[in-house]
């Protein structure tokens, strides 16, 4: 025999995962790292225009309803708690708990989205601030709109998992991985909102 070293044949297209972290989980982390650039560009654009003087029409920062947004931010923040509780329940094999917390997370996400729809409607109808009022308004709607789209995608994924968990036998180990991935995505959307809440809402209102 030569010095060709052959390992015992591995018969599957499987992943031995050199980093010790699953392919799909690593993929999700990698994808989320790139999302910083995405939201960063939107936030930077908002910051560029938010307090630039001389535009026509209403500025978003003139009409923010801080108490209202505080509550909806809090709702989204707490959905991160229900998300980890769902994950925790599944890891303990508690299918009932998983189901409950998954639904709670999706519901909190939906409440947040409802709040956003309400906010947009108020801004457009009451304050006459549309996409084309001024660049600050354009930037506000694009940023919060894309964030809302992310939340909506998350809610759909959560509801799909919830639907599967209601079937007989609940969520399998395979689905457990999916739950973890959806969880990562969900928390990420939450931390982006933490930044948006501070930078876009609290800090861009000119102090009296």
């Amino acid at each position: 025999m030569s010095d060709v070293v052959h390992e015992t044949p591995v018969a599957h297209h499987d992943e031995h995962e050199s980093t010790g972290i699953g392919n799909r989980k690593l993929g999700m982390w990698v994808f989320l790292s790139s999302e910083f650039m995405f939201f960063g560009a939107l936030i930077a654009t908002y910051l560029l225009y938010s307090n630039r003087g001389g535009f026509e029409g209403t500025y978003p920062s003139e009409i923010y309803d801080i108490p209202f947004t505080s509550v909806s931010s809090f709702v989204l923040l707490m959905s991160s708690l229900t998300m980890v509780l769902a994950h925790n329940a599944l890891s303990k094999g508690d299918q009932n708990g998983t189901r409950t917390w998954l639904f709670a997370t999706a519901a909190l996400g939906a409440v947040f989205l409802g709040g956003q729809v309400f906010e947009f409607t108020e801004f457009i109808v009451q304050s006459d601030m549309t996409l084309s009022t001024n660049p600050a308004a354009s930037a506000f709607y694009l940023l919060t709109g894309f964030h809302g789209t992310h939340v909506a995608v998350g809610v759909i994924m959560l509801l799909s998992l919830w639907g599967i968990s209601r079937r007989k036998g609940g969520l399998s180990e395979e689905h457990g991985m999916n739950l973890e991935l959806v969880g990562l995505y969900w928390h990420f959307v939450d931390i982006i909102w933490i930044v948006i809440f501070t930078v876009v809402y609290l800090l861009s209102v000119p102090s009296a």
Partner: protein, 674 residues
């Protein structure tokens, strides 16, 4: 074939199972087939982009020529650049990355085979979408204050080919507000923005896929610093894509919203800031430059050691220099904007940062020279292209440093000097590198050799044609010839060199024809390559040619950099490589194992869903362009439904169908080599 994917089972409806024919290509998740499709698509776009360039050159060969209308000229230079960058060099690099990364790291496929197919199909539909502008796009000239059509660019005027004018004409950089709704009405620039959005999505998905593949799928013993340089450069490219594509995605969304939904991001009348577009575009655009060149650098770093019969000089220096180029590539974007009125501090900072890029680049060039130094050189076709790459890229790199000097850049901006520079790095660099790779890995794809006489003819024609075309552009630019302008006056004295340039362009076209003949002829009638035709160093050559469907009969275990070379060669006391006595026997064994895997191998099954899902995007995006009409809205809904159906089907279908443990009968079949 001894071993194939297990017979698929039915889930909701039957899973595709064709091993050959058109469906095997449409549903494949095999990284090699996907790589080949990327390659052919990219090369087709290379031909289209080349024809566009030839039309431009015919127009410029004569002062005050009336061959093209101004509108057609604008459309052609826009589409030439867009095509060459996004539809040729990027997918051509993706072709090499797809085909080679799993082979070079000893894997059976990428981490996410179906996502890989998805990237390819998204890219493919994105390219078709972008080019469908020639059929559906419109570009209407605004009427000037005097009631006359405001700009010649959108049509009219002397010249022919005006039908081309109804396509994107705002340059590949689409500066705002010129490419915005007011100055570029019509749908052409929407096709451009949304087409690039689709293509960008494809790149982002492959970036994630390649990063996970490279970090997670390496064979046993394949440590990061044992990976071939090509894999390293691909890693850097994947990170550059990962972090730069989202920026352009946002910028393109803003353009689309400005054009379609009345936002005011880049509209100066409404308070928008066009310079923001430049920042976002070049934040992406400069890393993009390295996305285009680094794969070619990787290819050259593979080719040079093989034909110098020496290890790559300073392997780790080359790797770290590549990573440094990638990192610095994010910090120099504003050197594209030195003439846009940014502050003197910013100009100085970005000028200096740009100069530092010369350091890692210089390290690479000297390492390549060091590799050749004292080697026993074999001047095969791939080697000629690799050496040509070093020479041409060095010229392009040096003219690049001159742009880092701010006053000098002010003089050169928007002249043919820039055109010369960028073609020296992208054509003399990337394209020469890609051709080196095509000649080098042709046996890997086909089991045949390309004709070397024709190959060398191709090289010399292309090398000479290239220099005749682009070297004179340096002096044309310094004499003041402006880019992106379809006419020049005879008094400028620019005509003689322009004639030379046009002749050069046609020589390049001829050389490409020689290449195509060689490629297709050699595929059928080429000499059999046998195993390891180049006496190579890396893992992809330790398996039979053409590559078996399952790549490795037995997953390799790696003990060194250039593992395959060390199986064949020892060092004598003076450090010279000496072929081992039993090298031939080792090779015979590798070939045997490669062709007759001892165990059944289960590969990921083909799938319809990547194709279906990718098809949803262009439908939705057509819908966005025509969203004011009822059928436009319908298209958005249909596209979304198509994509959603695919997502559901995808989620329900396992990567690999369940399979039984190999039966004894099967094992006997394998034994018998059935």
């Amino acid at each position: 074939m001894t071993v194939t994917a297990e017979r698929p089972r039915t889930t909701i409806f039957k899973r595709p199972s064709s091993a050959y024919g058109i469906w095997s290509w449409l549903t494949t998740v095999d990284h090699k087939k996907i790589g080949i499709m990327y390659g052919y698509a990219a090369f087709s776009f290379f031909i289209i982009g080349g024809l566009e360039a030839l039309l431009l050159r015919v127009q410029l060969a004569q002062a005050n020529a009336e061959f093209l209308t101004a509108g057609a000229y604008n459309a052609l230079f826009t589409m030439h650049a867009t095509t060459m960058i996004f539809l040729f060099i990027m997918p051509a690099s993706a072709a090499f990355m797809n085909y080679l990364i799993p082979l070079m790291i000893g894997a059976r496929d990428v981490a996410f085979p179906r996502l890989n197919a998805l990237s390819w199909w998204i890219f493919f539909f994105g390219g078709i979408f972008l080019y469908s502008t020639f059929v559906f796009g419109t570009s209407v000239a605004p009427v000037g204050p005097d009631g006359i059509s405001g700009n010649l660019a959108a049509g009219g005027g002397p010249g022919s080919f005006n039908w081309l004018a109804a396509s994107p004409d705002g340059g590949w950089f689409a500066y705002q507000p010129n490419a915005g709704p007011f100055y570029s009405p019509g749908t052409a620039m929407d096709y451009w923005a949304l087409g690039l959005q689709i293509i960008g999505l494809a790149s982002l998905v492959s970036a994630v896929n390649f990063i996970v593949t490279i970090f997670n799928m390496r064979a046993k013993g394949m440590r990061l610093l044992r990976m071939p340089v090509f894999v390293w450069m691909s890693t850097v490219v994947a990170f550059l894509l990962l972090f730069s594509i989202p920026i352009i995605a946002v910028a393109l969304f803003m353009v689309t919203f400005d054009r379609q939904f009345g936002t005011l991001f880049f509209a100066p009348v409404g308070g928008g800031d066009p310079i923001l577009w430049q920042h976002l575009f070049w934040l992406f655009g400069h890393p993009e430059v390295y996305i285009l060149i680094l794969p070619a650098m990787g290819i050259v770093s593979e080719v040079l050691p093989v034909f110098s019969r020496k290890p790559l000089f300073g392997y780790s220096a080359v790797v770290f220099a590549g990573a440094a180029i990638g990192f610095l590539g994010f910090g120099v974007w504003a050197h594209h904007m030195l003439a846009s009125g940014i502050t003197p501090v910013a100009q100085a900072a970005f000028g200096l940062a740009t100069m530092t890029i010369a350091i890692p680049t210089g390290i690479k060039i000297f390492n390549w020279l060091g590799t050749m130094w004292g080697g026993r050189l074999r001047m095969t076709t791939p080697m000629l292209f690799a050496v040509g790459f070093i020479a041409m890229f060095t010229i392009g790199g040096l003219s690049g440093v001159t742009h880092a000097v701010v006053p000098s850049d002010w003089q050169q901006t928007d002249t043919y000097y820039i055109v010369a520079h960028l073609h020296y790095v992208l054509f003399g660099g990337s394209v020469f590198g890609l051709f080196a790779g095509l000649y080098y890995w042709f046996p890997k794809l086909t089991g045949k050799m390309m004709n070397s006489k024709l190959g060398k003819t191709h090289f010399w024609l292309m090398f000479i044609g290239f220099n005749i075309t682009f070297a004179p552009m340096h002096w044309l630019g310094l004499q003041g010839m402006v880019r992106r302008t379809w006419k020049y006056a005879p008094e400028t004295g620019l005509e003689p060199w322009n004639v030379v340039v046009t002749i050069g362009a046609f020589i390049i076209a001829l050389s490409v024809a020689v290449f195509m003949y060689n490629w297709f002829h050699s595929r059928r009638h080429g000499v059999d390559s046998g195993f390891d035709p180049w006496d190579a160093r890396t893992l992809e050559w330790a398996i039979p040619n053409p590559t078996p469907e399952y790549n490795f009969g037995v997953s390799p275990v790696i003990s060194k950099l250039d593992h395959f070379w060390h199986l064949k060669y020892d060092q004598d006391d003076e450090g010279r490589a000496v072929r081992k006595d039993d090298a031939d026997q080792i090779i015979a064994e590798l070939e045997h194992v490669g062709l007759n895997p001892p165990e059944p191998i289960h590969l990921p099954n083909p799938s319809y869903f990547p194709l279906l899902m990718a098809a949803g995007f262009p439908l939705m995006f057509y819908g966005i362009i025509y969203h004011t009409t009822a059928w436009g809205k319908a298209l958005i809904v249909i596209g979304a439904m198509v994509a959603l159906t695919a997502v559901i089907g995808w989620a329900m279908e396992p990567v690999e169908e369940p399979h039984d443990e190999p039966s004894e009968e099967r094992a006997e079949e394998v034994e018998a080599g059935v």
